[in-house]
Amino acid sequence: MLGSGTRDARRTERYLDGLMAADERHAHDVPVDTDLDPAVRSAARELRAGLNRVHPSFRFEDALAARLAEGAIRLRAGLPIEEAAPVSGRGTVSPFLSRSVHGTGTELPAAAPIVSAVPAAAAIRTRDTWSAAAFRRLPEMGSRSSRPLIVGGVASAAISIGAVYVAWRYSHPASGRMGRAARAAHGRTGHSGQSRRTGVINGILGVVS
């Protein structure tokens, strides 16, 4: 058994349905439920006449359509839409690709992500062949084992240190027994290592000592 409030609410709903349907078929006659309060019917007609749907400006419509199209391109490339606004010079996170990624285009990159100053447009081109899922899982890739850039950095540092050591050793004669013996042998000829090097340099430069 419905209460009177529920019954009235259902009557109102039926009247509103009839009002909307009459508008759709451009008809003036609306089926009237005489049990429905005339004031409610009148209010419904007022709201129907007064609450019109409004449209934004075409300029806004086209601008938003362009932004959505740009967002769609980024989504297809697996990029987040929040970065859609082009910001020149801003660095983006770009993972270091392993061979497996190039091979199938679907496997996760096996290397750690690095932060590089790749412009957004270039980043899109780089990631075109990746799946969106692979890109979204970037944070997980930080724990992977291969770190080619770090290995390269250590190697170059080692080479530099080695070169400095060799130069230092060349300019500082050894103080051990073998060094002293070598200096004694050179001393008999009247040439120390230092003076010999100086002579060679002066000879190259054409300086007469």
């Binding site: 409030g5 529920t6 009235d8 609410a9 259902r10 109102t12 709903e13 509103l16 909307m20 309060d37 004031a39 409610v40 009148s42 209010a43 419904a44 007022e46 709201l47 129907r48 006449a49 007064g50 609450l51 019109n52 749907r53 409004v54 449209h55 934004p56 806004f60 419509e61 938003l64 359509a65 932004r67 959505l68 199209a69 967002g71 769609a72 391109i73 989504l75 297809r76 839409i81």
Partner: protein
């Protein structure tokens, strides 16, 4: 007599078949650039909802942009949410079931996003310019001057009456009159039962009727004095 929507689902019918926008949604999910069709279809509806709620064109534009951006990003998750939506409305009566067969679950989902975005906008921005009413009248009544004046008065009266309604009644009225949603769709957007929405609308109309009557009485008193 009641019928379970979940029952339909258990018999093998997919809930997404209810959606009259299904082909557009599927196309947009395959290729996000095809989201444009859905955007053009629902732009005015979403914008109108935001405009009547926020009463400011610029705020409505901002909200509309956020709604469609969120919809574009969230489209891959849309079907899961439809399932949740259907499950939340497990038991409905035959009349409502008939109404549901024509409803767009995508539109419901889109307006749920709009409801959240607009609610956030209202919380963060309390600007309520009074000039927007004129904008609404101009937009809705181009052309004939007499008709424009009549429409302006109608818009003004309706606008003020709706603006005085409590929040939940106002939302229901806007969704019903501006966006022409069924009771079932409004219930889904607002997260209420259909019975509750019927009562909301009925009470809203009674409030508007009382408001309009009070306005007419004060107008007559003004003319006499």
């Amino acid at each position: 007599m009641s019928r379970s929507v979940l029952g339909i689902s258990e018999q093998g019918a997919r809930p997404a078949r209810l959606d009259r926008d299904r082909s557009l949604v599927e196309a947009a999910r395959r290729d996000p650039s095809l989201f444009d069709a859905l955007y053009r279809k629902y732009l005015a509806q979403v914008y109108s909802y935001a405009f009547y709620e926020l009463r400011d064109h610029h705020a409505a534009e901002d909200a509309t942009e956020r709604v469609f951006m969120q919809a574009l990003v969230g489209l891959p998750r849309f079907e899961e949410r439809v399932d949740a939506f259907i499950a939340s409305r497990a038991v409905i009566d035959p009349v409502d079931a008939a109404a549901s067969s024509d409803m767009s679950t995508f539109r419901v989902w889109l307006f749920r996003i709009a409801r959240n975005v607009v609610a956030n906008e209202r919380r963060t921005d309390r600007r309520r310019p009074s000039s927007s009413l004129d904008d609404a009248a101009e937009l809705s009544a181009p052309g004939d001057v007499v008709e424009a004046v009549a429409t302006r008065e109608a818009v003004g009266a309706a606008w003020q009456a709706v603006a005085r309604l409590p929040e939940d009644r106002r939302r229901a009225v806007i969704l019903r009159f501006v966006d022409e949603m069924s009771t079932a769709e409004i219930a889904a957007v607002l997260g209420r039962s259909e019975g509750a929405v019927r009562v909301l609308l009925h009470r809203a109309l009674r409030s508007v009727a009382a408001d309009l009557a009070a306005g007419e009485n004060s107008g007559r008193r003004g003319q006499l004095s």
